[in-house]
């Protein structure tokens, strides 16, 4: 017979593990997204330069 405390402990450990894994994944994604943000800044700057050349 599984006690209620055992079940609660099991779920606590499960959720903690999932949260930790999600946080690690998000950190990796954030680092990769950071490169895309920098590329985006460059793209916007290129468009601004073209606009300036075109007269506005």
């Amino acid at each position: 017979m599984v006690s209620l405390v055992t079940i609660i402990e099991f779920f606590e450990a499960l959720f903690a593990s999932i949260k930790r894994r999600n946080a690690e994944k998000a950190a990796v994604d954030a680092a990769k997204t950071s490169r895309l943000v920098d590329d985006g800044k460059a793209a916007v700057a290129d468009i601004d330069a073209e606009l300036a050349k075109a007269g506005r």
Binding site: V2, I7, F11, L14, F15, I18, K19, N22, A23, E24, K25, A26, A27, D29, A30, K32, T33, S34, L36, V37, D39, G40, K41, A43, V44, D46, I47, D48, E50, L51, K53, A54, G55, R56
Partner: protein, 139 residues
């Protein structure tokens, strides 16, 4: 036996509801829009340069705001401090950027490296708006 099945079922529900989707794919889509907008602006001929680049800027600027919102959410997730509001902000910024690019006439094809996303299909805004005026700067 029945209790074990119930436990397995609850576990499956808990695991599936706890796993968050990756927002990096959204960031890739927004980045692809920016690349497409930049290419569109650079490739425009002199006559339509101003109009095309203004549209491209509307798309790329919105996509940049979307990228930064996604990055904020990812950083908050990494620090385990993300709230539902961070997620909604990232979703809203992404949806806004996709809609803006659709209205501006920037579309992604298969060749962009991201699965084709047609910004205009959901709101019939894919057709670029005809420029009313460029302020008279260019005839």
């Amino acid at each position: 036996m029945r209790k074990a099945l119930v436990l397995i079922f609850i576990t499956a529900i808990a695991v599936s509801s706890s796993c968050s989707r990756s927002y990096y794919h959204d960031a890739e889509v927004l980045s692809a829009y920016q690349r497409q907008a930049r290419a569109m602006c650079l490739a425009a001929n002199a006559k339509s340069k101003l109009s095309t680049c203004r549209r491209a800027k509307a798309c790329a600027g919105a996509a940049q705001a979307g990228l930064e919102a996604v990055q904020l959410y990812q950083l908050a997730s990494a620090a385990m401090t993300a709230t539902i509001d961070d997620r909604v902000a990232a979703d809203a910024a992404y949806a806004g950027a996709v809609a803006a690019c659709g209205v501006a006439g920037v579309r992604l094809g298969v060749s962009s490296g991201v699965a084709a996303v047609d910004a205009g299909t959901s709101h019939n805004a894919a057709k670029p708006l005809a420029p009313i005026t460029d302020g008279g700067a260019h005839g």
